[in-house]
Symmetry: C2
Subunit: 163 residues, 2 copies
DNA sequence: CCGCTCATGTAACTGGTTACATGATTTA
DNA sequence: TAAATCATGTAACCAGTTACATGAGCGG
């Protein structure tokens, strides 16, 4: 994010996390501020004091080493846990569906299908917004999220049928 | 897992994690043993000493409260991060693909498509094994993992075309 | 100038990873 | 019976969450 957003404050990085639609990126201050300091200590970021700012804000830039680290992160082969089966809380729950009596299994599927449909509507809406904004990477990512969500939704229908 | 595997040792639970194809479930001893003890302290599990075992192994069973907790976990609405956009390390990387010059972007896609194809072959193989074993929940989960992996694979093809 | 939100943190708690220790059991 | 591996842990380290503190800047 510092690579992308040029010289920027930790707070700007934090905002990117807070605004991300992916809920695993919480953007809590207690994670971001220490992480940025770690990256600077590791030599991947460099900072200078911001002008006319009473808060002592520091502006960060990526270093050459940081750039190299980014490129390494984008160089295959990716680690196993990047391409392997992604964790899916719904799939995990289905593994233990037999805990419930059959009637409640159907209720589970009803509820989750409903939630997934709402989620799909949000994703389509978000994708429209991002297409309008004209940022190609964001549009691609939104498309990816949508395709995966659709696959999960179709799978849930199969689960119901096999029940 | 204790619900499913009847009275069982912590090590049996650990084996389930170690054998899981989902790489985020590492099954490290330093996670499992303390977790099982926490569950017992919370009253969700109960244990007794195993007969004729020199290691002082304890066998765990789920309690009524544990059973209730399991059912609550399976009762919609699920939390947002369970149905929301799942984190996907490949998608995250694509967001920052512009770090690379165009030739290396193609190399990234080549490598990841190759890895995903291998992963798909493994998933199909695993699914066959699980279908043969005759465990319906495992077969459903394997099917879900396969559908999601296929969606990711198709999306990567779109990414290449849009490049 | 008062209160709100912006912005930058910090501290205690929680929990996972890595690496090691130890004794039981099995196998060659 | 010696070596391997099974099984049960523990300790140090690392990193994220929650909740709080503090001061800057701004809008009425």
């Amino acid at each position: 994010m510092v690579w992308r957003d040029g010289p920027c404050s930790t707070y700007q990085v934090r905002k990117s996390f807070l605004e991300s639609p992916t809920p695993t990126w919480s953007g809590s201050a207690g994670a971001i501020y220490p992480a940025v300091r770690r990256l600077e200590r590791a030599g991947l970021l460099r900072s200078r004091k911001a002008d006319r700012d009473g808060r002592g804000t520091r502006l960060y830039r990526i270093t050459t080493a940081g750039r190299r680290a980014l490129e390494a992160w984008l160089t295959p082969p990716l680690p196993d846990d990047a391409v392997g089966i992604s964790s899916d809380p719904v799939r995990t729950r289905v593994l233990f569906l037999e805990v419930l009596p059959p009637a409640r299994r159907r209720k589970f599927l009803d509820g989750v299908e409903r939630q997934l449909d709402e989620h799909l509507a949000e994703l389509r809406e978000a994708r429209r917004a991002v297409l309008a904004s004209g940022e190609p990477s964001l549009a691609l990512a939104a498309r990816g999220a949508l395709l995966v969500a659709r696959a999960r939704r179709r799978w849930l229908r199969e689960v119901r049928e096999s029940l």
